[in-house]
Symmetry: C2
Subunit: 112 residues, 2 copies
Amino acid sequence: MNPWETQLRKGVVELAVLASIARGETYGYRIVESLRVHEGLAFTESTIYPVLTRLTRDGCLAVRVEASPAGPSRRYYRLTPAGEARFREMRKSWKTVSQSLSTLLERQGGEP
Amino acid sequence: MNPWETQLRKGVVELAVLASIARGETYGYRIVESLRVHEGLAFTESTIYPVLTRLTRDGCLAVRVEASPAGPSRRYYRLTPAGEARFREMRKSWKTVSQSLSTLLERQGGEP
DNA sequence: CACACTACCACGCGTTGCAAAGTAGTGGTC
DNA sequence: GACCACTACTTTGCAACGCGTGGTAGTGTG
C-alpha cells in the first residue's frame, strides 16, 4: 500500500474503532469486517487488535467474553464513560483537522 | 498535546505541506507560519523541515536558494511534475478516507 | 485427516511527529 | 559592543504506531 496512505490512516483507526463500538457492543473480528466495507478503512487484524488492547488498558473499553457459535470465544467490547468522553474528544479533533485541511485544499483551483 | 491528536495529524502534514507549496513557490519557515493559522495544523519546524527534506529526496520538490532580507538564506520550494502527481494522489486518498470516516461518524446519533 | 472459516495473539520492522537544542544572519536598544 | 529579538534552517533522540508475517485454538465439512 502507498506509504502515505498508511500514514493517513494512522490516527484514524482509533476513531474508527471507537465509532464502531459506539454503535453497540461488538468484538474485534466483527469490527475488522465492518470497517472493510468502507473504502480507505480496510484495516487488518494486526492493526485492530492492538488498538482494542490499548483502549482497554486506557480504561476506554470494557470487555465481556462470550462463547462463539463457531470458533474461539469472542471478546465483546463496549464504551466506558471514559471511552465515550474520548470518542467525543477525538471526534472533535477530527472535525477540526478535517475542516482546516478541506479549507486549505479548496483554496487553490482544484477539480471541485 | 493529546497523543491521539498527534496521530491524527500524522500523515496529514505531508498533504498540508504539498497544498501550501501548490499555491506557489515558498519556503519552510513561511509554511510553518501559514499553517499555524489553521486550527489543528499548527506544526513546528522540527516537523515541517524533515517533511521538506523527504519530499525533495523523493523528487517531489525542487529547491532554489535565495538570500533573505533579514536572516539566513531561504530555501524556496516548488512542486515538480512528480510532486503534482503525488499531491493529486494524496488529495484523492484524503477525500476517500475523509468521506468514509464522515459516513461512519454520522451513522450514529450525534449532534447534527 | 485435510481443509476452511472464525477469532484472537505476538514479534519485528520501518516510518513518523515532535521536543530540545543548536547555528547563523540581521537589526535594534542601552 | 554586549544583549536581545526575530528570521531561517539543522540535528539528535524518543516514543508511538500500522501492518506484514506467522501462530494458536475452536468449530464444521468433505
